[in-house]
Subunit: 268 residues, 3 copies
């Protein structure tokens, strides 16, 4: 069967970095199917990388998933391979993979990647994507057992990224802006389920606090449910509450970058 | 035979949206050949998407062509599959596909996409690319007859985008800037044929009106026919009249964004 | 065997230009494996294109490598195919390919591409990537002998791009900034070997002159060897000396764009 190997990095697209990884993989596993998840994760933004990977992975075929947002490359952090169901995640042990692993059912087994026979030689201290993760992924794709990579790591020793906070208090849900997409839609850490548990249904109106500001925001099926230019809240394609402006940029108009605190309750 | 599936969207490259579509397709049609036409169509810019798709499709192998620039996603607009010769176009019925369909010989048959058995479940109201068009394309790639998608739509009921205006008047051709590419070349809605019908040949000089400004512009084979820094008109790679500055940015220097009106005639 | 065809251009990703090339190749050589090396080379920046191609090609499988950064397209410059070991490079004869050819062991044989039977018809004077290089690459991928492309060109008649300058003088090495990557890391034309020949080892401190400014910069294995915010020099993933700021942007803070002169010696 054709192995599927996916890549998420913060390498950007202005250099040949991604291509070098592709080239290494194809050189070792010529039949592999490569899928680029995203290479425009802001440089070093592990949380953003973790969010994009976790939200995308349910739609990827089972395979080998490389994630490299690795400000500590060449330092003391481990390189790990984490098995989760029928998926294997490869990357730095800095939490980048942790949300995607959770979204895939949790860690089945984990290994430190130390088998230098599998690496390119020499290994650049600053480009483990090319010299470590790409060749290791290709060898796994060729059928190498994951246990050949190195010693097992107890799952509870892996670095876990704290999930974006979200909690219920006094009939409201509080959370934070997780990410802002290209359309200016602001995705919150508040799930559609949390909202439902407060009795909110599509068609209702939300009371939203952004710091000291309070807004009334219609909660609808989609941003196209309101007239162009209007603000709307909806359950987005990842099942999370999001704010949008139909044909506009909600994050910019509201001034809510990732990390901004938000409180939501049913409007009285 | 390997099915070819192509994708044009306004999803951008900063998220995992495109990868999710790829993943869904590969999960259903593991052998498909995917070609990304463009994912940086400005958000919601249906006309720009239509122009890029129509100009690229003649160079793509016959296949299944997904187009998603869909500001009305989740609203009342239909999802359609349009057969044109040996190609099938999938997307919202908002005109995005219409110029590419024309460039492919016109509609042979059209279907509303309503067969929910083919969709992911649940369907996000805001991400039909992933949940509707990607799986439907993959099933078509696997050989599913297009008639399984839903009821036929009479071709004259499909939404057609008005073509960029271009008309001859008093020995001149008038048109508009269709698009500006990365080099700052401004492509007009005036075809090389229109110009030829006025008797213009490479080597001639054009009289160009941009609003009240009038310019003399050499009409040449290519931008490299004039010295660096000089303005030139030429028939571009889509067969349309374009303005360029050799090693410079014509659209910026001339101040002609998409939509700007242009009048051209042979210089006396 | 599956032919590998790679593409490096300055076409950008906002248009369908790259897809048109992919489409043409796949139409002729349906089994080809395509790898995009980079399409965001700054428009017309032949030196940047040459650097990215040369630094990436050692990691690409043997194949057919298209490079198109071609400000003279449609003018008098030749289109060439250059054989270097088990690789073939296709592109304009403007020096773009020369560093990659050197990195691949030098020219074995070179041919002018003049066999119009292999081109699309008509050939747009401004889009040889789509109409000349893509179909020629696909035919080579299908097994066409390179000698069918046109007459041989003596290797010493090919255009060679002058390499970035680097020379030793009075116990120091002088060079220039070759490129700045997405992280703000500034790569110099000074190789790690040059530095080693001055007796510099990881752990030492460098005396660095940037114009009249002098800095002391630690030379380490990687940027993660210094605290966040600190400046560091290291041998980068291409074996060249680079300046970085751990979790910061060195090129911006130091004010050293590509071309800036740098002088380095061991600190006393």
């Amino acid at each position: 069967m054709t192995p599927v190997i996916t890549l998420l990095t913060d390498y950007g697209l202005e250099d040949g970095y991604v291509a070098a990884c592709h080239g290494v993989i194809v050189g070792i596993a010529p039949g592999a199917r490569l899928i680029d998840v995203c290479h425009l994760i802001p440089a070093g933004d592990v949380r953003r990388g973790a969010a994009v990977l976790a939200q995308t992975v349910p739609y990827l075929p089972p395979g080998i998933h490389i994630g490299v947002v690795d400000p500590g490359v060449g330092g003391a952090r481990r390189a790990v391979a984490i098995e989760a169901g029928d998926r294997v995640f490869l990357g730095p042990d800095n939490g980048l993979l942790s949300w995607a692993v959770n979204a895939s059912g949790g860690t089945t087994a984990a290994y430190e990647i130390t088998n230098t026979d599998l690496f390119l030689s020499p290994v650049s201290p600053t480009f483990h994507g090319r010299d470590v993760f790409a060749p290791v992924a290709a060898h796994l794709g060729n059928g190498l057992p994951i246990s050949e990579l190195g010693a097992q790591v107890p799952p509870d020793r892996l670095v876990h990224l704290p999930a974006p906070t979200s909690y219920r208090r006094e009939g409201a849900v509080e959370g934070e802006v997780v990410s802002v997409d290209r359309y200016g839609n602001a995705q919150l850490s508040i799930s559609a389920g949390d909202l439902g548990s407060l009795g909110v249904r599509a068609g209702d109106t939300l009371a939203v606090w952004l710091g000291r500001r309070q807004l009334s925001v219609p909660f609808r099926e989609t941003f196209a449910s309101v007239p162009p230019g209007d603000l709307v809240a909806f359950a987005d394609s990842a099942g999370l509450l999001a704010f949008a402006i139909n044909c506009g940029d909600a994050a910019q108009r509201l001034g809510i970058p990732p990390g901004a605190h938000v409180r939501v309750s049913p409007a009285r």
